[in-house]
């Protein structure tokens, strides 16, 4: 056995995750509520928050805005690869750590591929303001899967050699069957999952277009799940093709219809990325990284997050021309009518 940090669970241990379901109301009931109610009810200081989507697709942006208005302390963020969701939460910590703070990150990647690095990630880590535990994309996806299928760990062949496995709680053992080394990863059972999907019914049955990312696994692994959807549809419509349901109602606690809820990231069939809006947020953040002045970043938050009541207030400021442009670009991506 190689050296690994002492074992500990962030979020729920596998046994706690099991117990959390025993007394849960599993009935098929109306779970629609406002995003404010959902965030108030299901997210708490110190929680491990599982973030859905992948880089800048289907990031739960509207939920992060509401979390920032609310304010939270000492969150752990768990995700495979993410961009906009941790960007907003990280930037909120940069401008006012007394109002919003992240304690720990369990992640594979925080950046934006073609849209560059995440200056928030550099700011928080290079100053030692957050704990980091690096994993790979397959590692984090497998950890959520283990959590979702009720196992304490999952064997994987991922980056078994190198420094990733030395940065985290991976245990490397001799496989009892092949006698070759195999990596065991602890399950991730977040306290709460934040997920944006294409469509849902009021019970929480969700349809996802394009990649499911790791959203089904994160939802089923977490003690509670908040889902925002582009479209809230009737139960009959959503269940007309039951195999299209990526997340069943059992894995969902709150449903909120929030069109453009992943903007300025993308959502398959609905809208493409707003490269310009992402670049503007990064430029303002970089100013703070370089000069220490938070004025421009604060101004963004004051205008777009603290200065509005909810996500529709944010979209009003973005304007219909931008939203239509992104819708048209996505229609071309999908070779579909707008």
């Amino acid at each position: 056995m190689k050296d690994t940090p002492e074992m500990f669970w962030t979020g729920l241990s596998p046994d706690e995750a099991r117990k959390a379901l025993v007394n849960k109301d599993k009935s098929m009931r109306d779970k629609t509520m406002t995003l404010k109610e959902a965030v108030d009810t299901f997210i708490h200081d110190g929680d491990n928050v599982g973030i859905g989507g992948f880089v800048d697709i289907r990031q739960p942006v509207a939920i992060t805005h509401e979390m920032i208005r609310h304010g939270f302390k000492d969150l752990t963020l768990s995700f495979q690869s993410a961009g906009m969701a941790p960007d907003y939460l990280g930037a909120a910590m940069m401008i006012d750590p007394d109002h919003f703070s992240i304690k720990r990150l369990e992640l594979a990647y925080w950046a934006h591929e073609a849209f560059g690095l995440a200056p928030m990630f550099r700011y928080l880590t290079e100053r030692g303001l957050v704990e980091v535990e690096d994993w790979s994309n397959a590692n984090m996806s497998s950890r959520f899967k283990a959590g979702a299928i009720g196992l304490p760990f999952i064997p994987t062949r991922g980056p078994i050699a190198g420094d990733v496995a030395r940065s985290n709680r991976t245990k490397i053992i001799d496989c009892p069957f092949t006698h070759r080394p195999i990596a065991l990863l602890p399950a991730s059972n977040p306290d709460v999952a934040i997920i944006h999907v294409n469509a849902a019914d009021k019970y929480g049955n969700c349809i996802i277009r394009g990649s499911e990312c790791t959203c089904p696994e994160i939802s089923m692994a977490s003690a509670h799940t908040i889902v925002t959807c582009e479209q809230l549809l009737s139960h009959e419509t959503i269940t007309s093709l039951p195999k299209d349901i990526a997340i069943p109602f059992l894995g969902v606690d709150a449903v909120i219809e929030v069109p453009y809820g992943a903007y300025p990231g993308a959502c398959r069939r609905s809208y493409y990325y707003s490269k310009e809006h992402i670049a503007d947020l990064h430029r303002r953040t970089s100013v703070m990284c370089k000069t220490g002045s938070k004025d421009e970043l604060q101004a963004y938050f004051d205008e777009y997050i603290f200065g509005v009541d909810d996500f529709s207030g944010f979209l009003d400021k973005i304007g219909v021309a931008e939203l239509l442009k992104l819708k048209k670009l996505e229609a071309a991506n999908c070779e579909r009518l707008v």
Binding site: F54, V55, D56, I57, Q80, S81, L107, A108, Y109, A111, E113, A114, F115, L117, A118, F121, R122, T125, E126, G128, E131, V132, D134, S136, N137, A138, N139, S141, S142, K145, T156, R157, G158, P159, I160, A161, G162, D163, V164, S167, P181, I182, A183, R209, G210, S211, E212, C213, T214, P216, E217, A266, R268, R269, Y272, K275, E330, A332, N333, E335
Partner: protein, 264 residues
């Protein structure tokens, strides 16, 4: 084919990367230049190349434009199969990916890559000098694709004797069967393409070995910009510059807005 006199360092990397890919094979494509190279291969000698992207798209024809992300909507249109990250990596772990196409900020002589941090690991892990994005799927591809193709811009600091952090495992310490003994399956780094030439990894020592030089480079000029001692193939040849048609495809058909391929 007319040889181009007007091409950039990125464009020659793309052309070289495309040529490594064989038709009818499965390539697990990372973000950036690997996407451009895979598209160029599909448009030239490898029309039946099967790209896989880690967000889950398998075999899209990529006819709606260059994806900006391995989760881009453009990867799902015309894909044969789309689930999620677990399905893409499970297929790779099973052995369905012939090639993996990855990059990094630092590479050593055994083809190990760093895309996590610059600084002192493990002591300075929680406060790195420069924090890089992290593994993403690169270390998974490095572990489980059958062969990997590495793309690293060439300079002395990036071609480093000792990595500051080993994110994506290559041939590890170069010892015999090191990858197998560590528990990995794929055969590891197959080619490395830099801004100066094309390399493989010598069969016994697994050390980086120069195969071909790009125009304007020599064995000496490349060694001078490498932070460790290179091996040289018995017959180091000159890589033919991109053709006018290849450069046109990159600039006009594949990346007309300069998403990954910068003009300067």
């Amino acid at each position: 084919m007319t040889v181009s006199k007007d091409y950039t360092a990125q464009e020659i990397i793309i052309v070289a990367g495309a040529k490594v890919l064989e038709d009818k094979r499965v390539v697990f494509v990372g973000t950036g230049l690997p996407m451009v190279a895979s598209l160029l291969a599909k448009m030239t000698h490898a029309p039946n190349l099967i790209p896989v992207f880690e967000a889950g798209a398998v075999g899209p024809h990529l006819t709606v434009g260059l994806p900006v992300s391995v989760g881009d909507s453009k990867t799902f249109t015309s894909a044969s199969y789309v689930k999620g990250l677990n399905s893409a990596f499970e297929m790779t772990q099973r052995g369905f990916a012939d090639y993996g196409f990855i990059g990094g900020a630092e590479v050593d002589m055994y083809g190990n890559l760093n895309s996590t941090m610059i600084g002192d690991f493990p002591d300075g892990y929680q406060k790195p000098k420069i924090r890089l994005p992290g593994s993403g799927g690169a270390s998974d591809m490095a572990a489980s694709c059958e062969k990997t193709i590495l793309i690293v811009p060439h300079d002395k600091r990036k071609f480093s004797a000792k990595l500051q952090y080993l994110t994506s495992p290559g041939h590890l310490d170069g010892s015999k069967d090191a990858r197998w003994k560590a528990g990995m399956q794929g055969s590891g780094p197959y080619r490395l393409i830099s801004t100066k030439g094309i390399f493989d990894f010598e069969e016994e020592s697994h050390r980086m070995r120069l195969l071909q030089t790009f125009p304007g480079e020599t064995k000496e000029s490349i060694q001078a910009e490498t932070g460790f001692e290179l091996l040289f193939a018995d017959n180091v040849t000159a890589f033919a510059p991109p053709t006018v048609e290849e450069v046109r495809l990159i600039r006009e058909e594949i990346d007309p807005t300069g998403i990954f391929v910068k003009r300067a």
